[in-house]
Amino acid sequence: MIKYSIRRILLTIPLLLVVLSMVFVFVRLAPGDPAMAMLGQYATQEGLDALRKQMGLDAPMWLQYLRFLGDLLRGDLGVSMLNGVPVVDQLRVVLPYTLELTVSAMVLGVLLGVPMGVYTALRRNRSADYSGRVVSLVGISIPSFFLGILLLYVFSVRMDLFPVLGAGRDGDLGDRLYHLVLPTLSLGLIMTSYIMRMTRSSMLNVLNEDFVRTAKSKGLQERIVVYKHAFMNALIPVVSVLGIYFIINLGSSIMTEIVFSRPGLGKLMVLAMKQRDYVVLQSVMVIYATLAIFINLFVDLIYGLIDPRIKYG
């Protein structure tokens, strides 16, 4: 198991490298550059040249790339091209907000989605199942920013229950949680829909299997045992897609952060993009990719734990 994990982690290194190189090239091919973004309407040619030199943009692209890789190997993400703040500091501020949002949305999704999926599967083709299916379809169809806006409008503007944007005061746990409720709901309810649909269909698959069918005719005691077994079996495919759902979740969190005006990776990315701050943009992409890769790894490992058929070699 440990050996398997190490091998998986080692495998992610070339993957990350490819991602990094791609991001590096992409952001540099974009029109506009950070010197221009910084100087804006007052830019003069000599000012631009000097600033580009200072930012290291005058070097040929391959040299910039080598420098970038070299710094990265030393664990140095660099400093923001605009104000010289180390990117690590910016990420340290921002990352917890994105993590608390996406993880709590995921937790909400699992806690609501799994039981609801099981429930609707057991009530197949009855009204509860139908309404559940319609609601979950609506859930996967609604864009996260729109759900966020609706929640904001109803609970903040109209009812004045959660009147807050932003992420709350630092160090004040209650305030942080308070600010987290609506954003978590807007992402979490969408996750709930995804997980509920997956759980339902995988539960239906299991319920159709022979051992469960036979159990229906047996006594109560045995029925509970079998259902428990069925439930565990039904969970396996659900766990296996959690990684994919998390990536969807991560993508939607950009919009949610903007709607609720929360600090976070998404907001940092949009800002860096506007200012063409290559260094920050690269780092944010690296973090997104790393998050996605490690979540997938994590899910794989859990998957192995609950599915006895998987052997690590």
Partner: protein, 282 residues
């Protein structure tokens, strides 16, 4: 016999009330988009100083925006962009994705391997982020949007067709065809493509829903089709700053996005039930 199967599948589809609702909803959307010029009560870009930010009433069902433009007309015209981008990008993604996937499965050499590794890399990014990267590089516009979303969706098709092709290519009749010296493109076209088409079509419908949602997200971030063209995401984006005094500006286009995505999801769901033999019993 084939006909029988199709008829049975049609019956299953029609029995699925949710799917039928989705089908008619999509049809309605397509009709609205097609005849937007006739359906919309006003010119979507006609500005009017004297009726700015009016709340919904009989004259303007969905109210007007801060330029005095009719929101209903803009929502109606916006359907063109969403549908066009959604459908075209999926067709584009499907073509390059499934070709790449089929090729990789058939080749299984270095290039095929490389393709699938590239697919892995692309799949670990959220769709929005990848599309943003592309758009930052190539700029804005409808064609570019279609290209970016198409590229983002292509890996999914590649994975799908790769898996299916792999399972088919070992079958006897293909081995036989190869033994008889049939050329690769011919095998793919005659034997493999028809076999994976069904599955791809189901996913097309579901992923069109995804593409429409991604388009809306990108528009919301300000990276969609530029103004004054009405797009739903753009409308929500500009409307949201007026949420306290003019909520209709963001709520109606938002609902439109939801309905469009829902319609395609409903069809896809229905089609999947039709295709999945396990779920047909019971």
């Amino acid at each position: 016999m084939l006909n029988d199967l199709r008829r049975k599948q049609l019956r299953v589809f029609l029995r699925n009330r949710i799917a039928v609702v989705g089908f008619f909803l999509t049809l309605l959307l397509i009709l609205i988009a097609f005849f937007a010029g006739y359906v919309a009560p006003y010119d979507p870009n006609e500005q009017n100083v004297y009726s700015r930010l009016t709340s919904p009433d009989l004259k303007h069902w969905f109210g007007t925006d801060s330029y005095g433009r009719d929101t209903l007309s803009r929502v109606i015209h916006g359907s063109r962009i969403s549908l066009a981008v959604g459908v075209c990008s999926i067709i584009f993604g499907m073509v390059i994705g499934s070709l790449a996937g089929m090729f990789a499965a058939f080749d299984r050499g270095k290039i095929g391997n490389l393709i699938m590794r590239a697919v892995d890399v692309m799949m670990c990014f959220p769709a929005e982020i990848f599309a943003i990267l592309f758009l930052v590089m190539i700029g804005q516009g409808m064609d570019k949007l279609i290209f970016a979303i198409g590229v983002v969706m292509a890996p999914r098709f590649a994975r799908l067709s790769y898996g299916t092709t792999l399972s088919i290519r070992e079958r006897e009749y293909i081995e036989a065809a190869r033994a008889l010296g049939a050329k690769r493109p011919r095998i793919v076209l005659k034997h493999i493509f028809p076999n994976i088409l069904g599955e791809i079509l189901v996913m097309c419908s579901l992923w069109t829903a995804t593409a429409i949602r991604v388009e809306a997200n990108l528009s919301f971030l300000g990276m969609g089709v530029p103004p004054p063209t009405a797009t739903w995401g753009n409308m929500v984006r500009t409307g949201v700053s007026q949420l306290t005094n003019a909520p209709w500006l963001s709520i109606f286009p938002g609902l439109a996005i939801m309905v469009a995505v829902l319609a395609f999801n409903l069809i896809g769901d229905g089609l999947r039930d039709v295709m999945d033999p396990k779920l047909q019993q019971g």
